[in-house]
């Protein structure tokens, strides 16, 4: 047997793992090979030292990790609460209404004064808005991206409608339907804003609860201390005393505020 294979088997046997070859064959090799017997002894010694002398954690930064960890998706606002569902429901209603005014344009091809082709083009534009509102209802996370183009379209519709009303080019009843686009864009902006502030709030709440949630005072003190600026590794002199006394104080104060 080659010594390389034997040593691999010896190594695996030290770890209590499958040596990859019959134990009797390994023992026979060891009986005949003084170098591998020597290697086995050294391997045991190296293993013992390595297991005992490995790097050990000096200070626990768990709290810092938790504070810096981005909130998981599960922690984000689900928008399933009353207000969130109201916005999504509103968007669906707006999307359906927008779709309803699209049909005569896109399929029937007539819009008051406009020609067939112009009506088709307008219909495509209205359909895009309807789809955007629908997507905003189904995937609220996309609201921020949808809100801007829809907002610009709605603003354009309103400004031109007002101008044309003043100029007598159109009548109020025809232009009222643009309020649907305005409502949709407003809902998208509102939803995007809610999600943004909700995510920030969730992150803040998460990190704060990490800092003070444990009931044991000692744990809380330790965790808050880690959130303080770096304390000197070897406590000596006034600075570290101050730092040490600050930890529990801060913990107590924060704990009191929460309780």
């Amino acid at each position: 047997m080659e010594c390389d294979r034997a040593r691999e088997a010896i190594s695996a046997r030290i770890d209590g793992e499958d040596p990859g070859l019959p134990g009797s064959a390994l023992d026979a090799h060891l009986a005949s090979c003084a170098q591998c017997r020597d290697w086995q002894q050294r391997a045991h010694e190296v293993t013992r030292r390595a297991r005992l002398g490995g790097p050990f954690l000096e200070r626990d930064l768990t709290a810092q990790v938790l504070a810096a960890t981005p909130p998981s998706r599960a922690g984000l606002p689900r928008l399933t609460g009353g207000a969130g569902m109201a916005k999504r429901g509103g968007l669906i209603a707006v999307a359906l209404a927008q779709l309803a005014i699209t049909v005569p344009l896109l399929i029937l091809g007539h819009d008051h004064g406009a020609g067939t082709h112009a009506a088709h083009e307008l219909g495509s534009f209205d359909l895009a808005l309807a789809i955007a509102f629908g997507v905003g209802a189904i995937r609220p996370a996309l609201s921020a991206g949808l809100a801007w183009p829809c907002g610009v379209a709605a603003a354009g519709l309103v400004v031109t409608a007002v101008a044309d009303l003043i100029g007598g080019q159109t009548i109020g009843a025809d232009e009222a339907q643009h309020l649907i686009a305005v409502a949709g864009a407003a809902l998208l902006f509102w939803q995007a804003r809610t999600i943004r502030s909700g995510a920030a709030g969730a992150a803040m709440e998460t990190s704060r609860s990490w800092a003070v949630s444990p009931p044991g005072g000692q744990r809380a003190a330790g965790q808050v201390a880690f959130l303080l600026p770096e304390t000197p590794p070897e406590p000596s002199g006034d600075g570290s005393d101050a730092a040490r006394s600050t930890g529990p104080d801060v913990a107590a104060r924060d704990g009191g505020k929460v309780a």
Partner: protein
């Protein structure tokens, strides 16, 4: 083993948005992730690498299905984080010196106490052997678990661990004739 299962259970609960379970998951695994990073890339950068590991793992918790143990999943992320750190260190060294490629990557982060430790010896191992050795010896995982962490067959782990032992034994033997640092290294393992 039961602690591994417990960690997996915590990971599954954390995945569903249980923040107390997430805290318990980090607390229960932090020490092992830190020691793994310290042994792979050096104690001086282990804090940052551990933090990076959790920063990557928590957002992807929802992709954690629980068919692997949470510990091996977490450690394989840590291994990737450390590998990235070692790669960027090598790049930096190549850019600044150019002819230092033979140096063990450890030298880039000198130990402030100027003392050779067991971790310093790990640093002289080939990175793959180092990972296999550290996972099985320092963290005490089985070869099968180490294979999951390192993304290789069990037989490869067996071979890498044996090679790592071979290299460490050689470091001790070389201690008698080599530089003071190497001699010191030998003393650490043989004294």
């Amino acid at each position: 083993m039961s602690s591994v299962d417990e960690l997996t259970r915590l990971a599954q609960a954390a995945r569903l948005g249980d923040s107390a379970a997430l805290e318990a998951f980090v607390t229960a695994s932090y020490d092992r992730v830190w020691r793994f990073c310290a042994a792979l890339a050096g104690a001086s950068v282990a804090d940052d690498l551990t933090q990076e590991t959790y920063a990557r793992c928590v957002p992807s918790l929802r992709r954690f299905r629980g068919d692997a143990s949470a510990l091996t999943w977490l450690l394989s992320i840590a291994r990737h984080v450390c590998a990235g750190e070692l790669r960027s260190r090598i790049r930096t060294r190549e850019n600044t010196t150019g002819d230092d490629a033979e140096d063990p990557d450890w030298r880039a982060v000198p130990d402030p106490t100027d003392e050779v430790t067991v971790a310093d010896l790990f640093a002289r191992l080939d990175p793959d052997r180092r990972a296999a050795f550290v996972v099985t010896q320092v963290l005490g995982l089985s070869y099968a678990e180490a294979a999951a962490v390192c993304g290789c067959p069990v037989g490869t782990i067996r071979s890498r661990v044996a090679r790592a032992r071979e290299d460490l034994i050689a470091m001790i033997s070389a201690g008698d004739t080599a530089s003071p640092a190497t001699r010191q290294a030998g003393e650490i393992l043989s004294s």
